[in-house]
Symmetry: C4
Subunit: 209 residues, 4 copies
Amino acid sequence: MNRTRLEAFSDGVIAIIITIMVLELHAPHTSSARVLSLADLQSLRGLWPVFVSYILSYVYVGIYWTNHHHMLHTVRRVTGSILWANLHLLFWLSLVPFVTAWIGQNHFAPTPMAVYGFVLLMAAIAYTILQHTIIADQGPNSVLRAAVKADWKGKVSVACYLVGILCCLVSAWIAGVLYVTVAMLWLIPDRRIEHEIRRHEPSTEAEVK
Amino acid sequence: MNRTRLEAFSDGVIAIIITIMVLELHAPHTSSARVLSLADLQSLRGLWPVFVSYILSYVYVGIYWTNHHHMLHTVRRVTGSILWANLHLLFWLSLVPFVTAWIGQNHFAPTPMAVYGFVLLMAAIAYTILQHTIIADQGPNSVLRAAVKADWKGKVSVACYLVGILCCLVSAWIAGVLYVTVAMLWLIPDRRIEHEIRRHEPSTEAEVK
Amino acid sequence: MNRTRLEAFSDGVIAIIITIMVLELHAPHTSSARVLSLADLQSLRGLWPVFVSYILSYVYVGIYWTNHHHMLHTVRRVTGSILWANLHLLFWLSLVPFVTAWIGQNHFAPTPMAVYGFVLLMAAIAYTILQHTIIADQGPNSVLRAAVKADWKGKVSVACYLVGILCCLVSAWIAGVLYVTVAMLWLIPDRRIEHEIRRHEPSTEAEVK
Amino acid sequence: MNRTRLEAFSDGVIAIIITIMVLELHAPHTSSARVLSLADLQSLRGLWPVFVSYILSYVYVGIYWTNHHHMLHTVRRVTGSILWANLHLLFWLSLVPFVTAWIGQNHFAPTPMAVYGFVLLMAAIAYTILQHTIIADQGPNSVLRAAVKADWKGKVSVACYLVGILCCLVSAWIAGVLYVTVAMLWLIPDRRIEHEIRRHEPSTEAEVK
């Protein structure tokens, strides 16, 4: 089975997810001022929650894409289970534009923020399932297992999402801070996998087609 | 002719089909509650038919993608007939978002459910035509023919769609149960093709680019 | 320069063009009938011009995709001129969803039909320009020139579009018949290029990656 | 790490950006005239600002795509920093449809024109950051550095955007002229990189897969 096509399809879906979120930014109406006007600039101000939620989700989807990129790089054989574990992950990611629109349109209200956290949580779980599926297929000498090790980042993220959802019972802002913190944590791409791959394939040059 | 490009184009179309369906999930309005509120969570309840129809169609399109992935893997030469049989399949799949929106917005009313079944039926027929086109091109030693054999799954699906459409004369729920059953039947990816390919290409390692 | 990426980008744009046209099919409202009702089925009837225009444009874009596929197959070197001639073609194709919506929403009224023909005409011209750019780059032994020869199909199409646009001064239906005729003409993929390629690369097996 | 996937993802995002802009062109209503009517053709006239802004942005995004194409061609190793510098560039490009809709719907009003220039400015800066990230990774013998040299085009563009934004305090038209000028400047693809690559890889034939 061909890894290239699995990557291409995932790239397509993720590219569309990331781009349709921008459709939520509706162009505001401007006055008939003939020069740059502060009033018109301020018409953008109403868009800030939509814009901020777009940035947050863009970073999240970007993180998933880069880590997915690294993880699939270790895959040597694409099985049916990997295909479906991947489709399961893409399903939860495909809900990100919906919850992003929901928090943006409602100024980060607590209920949408909790549901946003829930979708992130499910995506994180789906990512872990995909990871385990690949490791199981690779057997005892799994490159991915060696790279991921205890996966504390994955565990901390899940904990943060859970705490974040619960925090919405008190204040949506704590949840927001937690979600941003998890994003920060992952912004550093998963060098563990990069390192393991290099250990196993000393000549990275050969990697480049 | 280049198989890669046929796959890339199909992946693009299928990725867009799968993702634009999520645009039907319109973010509901929330109250001004300052903490997580049950009333706001219940505003999601009105979305359930849209959400359920999204899941069903996501699974269906996912099934088509994985089986298409396996089937095209056996193609060694892309002819004009294969290109058009493939475009014909993509045409019917491109109508899935439309019928999905229709059943979702009308709470699985019988008429949309019958038309939904009709589109699934036509996609199944288009898939069979593509399969036959590839087998015909591969000649007597066709890997795909050996893999597909009697294709009972394809025949059962077509029968289920036909019965499902007729059932809408009585109740849309029976049709729904039938459509879900067919999806279940296919969720197990087409291992027949995987097996045949492995028989013909013993070293799967060599498959990976 | 890398041909693969030119193909991938074109595939992406064409896949999106083909798929966003289906967004024009808005799901109609259904009655509360509990079983399949003829009245509800008839609510689809109002969609027929949108649906027919979708089929016509789908076939047109499909034709462009298959012929583009064959033409780019002869390209050995991607120059800046080829990149921009290709972007120019994609520009006119990107207007197809707009004119398709226009003719569909207005029941093939003569003015939209004329503009539809104009966009098809410009796309045909852009395709010819791309063809000439590739031939010019390939020099005297151009595989593409040998394949295309006098390009009577291209010339007949341009003539049909021009006559079709003029016909809208009398009746939009004649234009419609002409546009369908051109589509029919091209539905047979450009075997000339397939033949020339096979003459130059006797072992097609080697083509498959 | 695999360059192909970085290209495929960027192609996907750019293809979607370029195509969703066309959704702003809403099909106007036509009269019931039975033949081609001047009045109906004039209904297109109201679309001219949307159409002109679409052309401008199409050219801009096309320029980014071709230059990105050339630049990534020099990349031999994809690091985490390159992935994120690329996502940063795609972020600013993803805002192009939004500002394009804004200037189109408001007839190139000065405030939207200033914000349009700001997004172009940020995209240019993001492109420069990506360029520097690649050069830094390539080390002292960087092919890209040799190709880009003093990058006067990049510097002139940034200056034009800045002046353009300021001009909106006086007149949006000067800004428009400046933005068009920058587009003209870049329409000629970055042959510097093409030349450097050929110097380093004398047999371009070998480039083609």
